[in-house]
């Protein structure tokens, strides 16, 4: 295939106005940003703007609350006294114009102050820092499972297009994206733990096992580092069911997307050529079709990560998984606004960063994206 890969190179050289891509030409050309660098800078700019936008959204929503924040902080008796109310308003900066309040809010955020929980009186950022690794561990487990299973199912479905296998996989993936994750979690927990006893119960470890010394906060990784094999297997066992449940929705998503992506690639001439050359089917499928189909799939992994974050908020409670999701659930059910806004802000920023990384990978893998 060495000959085929030089063909686009040749046509690019033949195009008159385009920059010639060899060392000599680059030295003569006036200094200009490399397209890849330009692409990265633009993406960074967009991400920063989006993160700024996210802070505006959470700020506006916090100030939109119909209930008076002063009344929530003070007791009933103190709230009846206009002098105390005025004092508290001044202390909280509520007497300032909205734009000043926003800059105070922004500067607090930049100093790592996301407010204090109304319920527990602990700083929101501190609590999020404690529960975050648990969700990361769960998220990594789920994304690994869903990428492997989803891609393989999608590939199989596309290669057997319009057969019974294809129809079965398509129907199952449609059902997979139709089920509410928190319900699947409840049913799976009931069946596999309560009835069959094949998985350990709720939580990240059995209650009698002490967590491994904290390095990354991921119990499986920390246990491996400190060489506690019993703790590792226990943590892994606890991880299996929640990550499978969480993966179910994204498996459906990835299966559907990789199927259509593979179907697009199969039509290309280079695949027909590879088949005509008599290459073994396995080579054609994995080296030609699968590699071509993988590029657009990368973007969907970013999307899938978003639905994993959403799924975590709804399912962690069922498994008593002490992560960001359970923290958000507790915040939502008790209407603890600082907690909800903090979680929304953090998830928004994480989602933007993941999509930024996905865009970068996409830019590296597919040069056409950078040119736009």
């Amino acid at each position: 295939m060495a000959g085929a890969s030089t063909v686009p190179q040749g046509t690019r050289d033949a195009a008159p106005p385009g920059p010639v891509e060899n060392d000599a030409a680059q030295r003569i050309e006036p200094p200009k940003l490399h397209p890849l660098l330009r692409f990265i800078l633009i993406r960074i700019g967009i991400s920063i703007l989006l993160i700024w936008g996210v802070t505006v959204v959470t700020f506006l929503l916090t100030n939109l609350v119909p209930t008076d924040p002063v009344a929530a902080i003070l007791g009933d008796r103190a709230a009846a006294d206009p002098e105390i109310v005025a004092q508290t308003r001044e202390k909280l900066g509520l007497d300032q114009p909205l734009i000043v309040q926003y800059f105070t809010y922004l500067s607090n955020l930049l100093h790592g102050d996301l407010g204090v929980s109304n319920q527990t009186r602990t700083p929101v950022l501190e609590s999020i820092g404690q529960v975050f690794p648990a969700s990361i561990e769960l998220g990594i487990g789920a994304i690994l499972i869903s990428v492997v299973v989803g891609l393989l199912l999608g590939l199989l479905s596309a290669l057997r297009q319009n057969t019974i296998v294809d129809h079965a996989i398509r129907t199952l993936s449609l059902i997979g994206i139709s089920a509410p994750t928190f319900w699947i979690a409840t049913v799976a927990y009931f069946v596999f733990f309560f009835k069959l006893r094949v998985v350990p119960g709720a939580g990240r470890l059995d209650p009698w096992i002490t967590p491994p010394p904290k390095a990354t906060g991921l119990y499986t990784v920390d246990a491996l580092f400190s060489g506690q094999m019993a703790t590792f297997t226990n943590a892994l066992g606890h991880l299996v069911l929640p990550s499978c449940v969480l993966a179910l929705f994204t498996i459906g998503l990835l299966t559907r997307f990789s199927r259509s992506s593979v179907l697009d690639i199969i039509r290309f001439d280079y695949v027909t050529a590879a088949k005509a050359k008599g290459l073994p089917t396995r080579t054609v499928v994995f080296k030609y079709i699968f590699r071509g189909a993988l590029v657009p799939i990368i973007t969907v992994v970013g999307l899938a990560f978003g639905s994993l974050l959403s799924g975590a908020v709804l399912t962690e409670t069922v498994f008593a998984w002490n992560g960001l999701g359970q923290y958000a659930y507790r915040g939502a059910t008790t209407l603890d606004l600082p907690v909800i806004m903090g979680v929304g802000l953090v998830i928004g920023i994480v989602y933007i960063l993941v999509n930024f990384i996905v865009d970068l990978i996409y830019g590296f893998v597919d040069p056409r994206v950078r040119v736009r």
């Binding site: 989006l50 959204v57 929503l61 449609l174 139709s178 928190f182 978003g306 709804l314 909800i340 806004m341």
Partner: protein, 311 residues
Amino acid sequence: MSIGSPKHPATGSTRTEAATGDPLGPVVKRWQFRFPKSLRTPLGFVGAAILVIWLILAIFAPLVAPFDPLAQDFPRLTGPGAENILGTDTLGRDVFSRIVVAARTTLPAAVFVVICSALLGSVLGAIAGYFGRAVDEIIMRIADLVFAFPTIILAMVIAAALGPGLKNAIIAILLVSWPSYARVTRSLVMTARSSEYVIAGRLLGFSAGRSLLREIAPNVISPVIVLATLDVGSAILTMAGLSFLSLGAVPPTPDWGAMISEGVSQFAAWWIAFFPGLCILTIVMAFNFIGDSLRDSLDPHTAQEVGETTS
């Protein structure tokens, strides 16, 4: 090509065939939406059948439900049996009656929220696509901002700020779901704007409103309707998620998401959570099956395949 082509049903003139690869298809002059042939796939049929059953159940809910969904008349936490076919909940209410009555709020609310967000999104998208420049920038950057959050997270944040309740949950879902319509409509309108029939209208001195409503809208409406059908399922899921987080309908109103949330702490009484979840699954599945068949009809590649398999 034009010799055998059918007469246009509304105008009687010969319909011109669309050029292959034209995303908008043949030019439509009057408002019309025909149900695509592709709904005759097995999946589309199953979806439609499930949906019809649910509609009947929801409409005749007071007749179907054997008991008052709010009455705490029965022993608490009894399993499915002769009297309470799906058991009773923690307060001794009949689960079956609650499920059936809950369909009456969930279904109309989901359809309502989808219609509203499709309207809002496509109007904003059409304005952005037709006028371009600053208007386009402002509208689409707001849309980008909404896309910067995972759907349920932003819906949760908005619903929490507004306070729990069905009305606020609907507003929250509306605010998070309009941008996908805006994006689709915007790109369709941008394509349509430069087509000859629109330019001809502009040369005749038609106003922007007339151009958008009378000429462009009939030609871009079908994809929006397909997208809306697909979206009812996810609207139901988001709504169930919000009420699972107790940000949806306020108790004691029967609600599927809230019923599952109640069942999470009652593992021995599996029926409390199991049956409401089954309802959400079947109804979302029905919408996804229908949407999947409809979407196939839009994509020229797959539309051909569907035609081959069904004929």
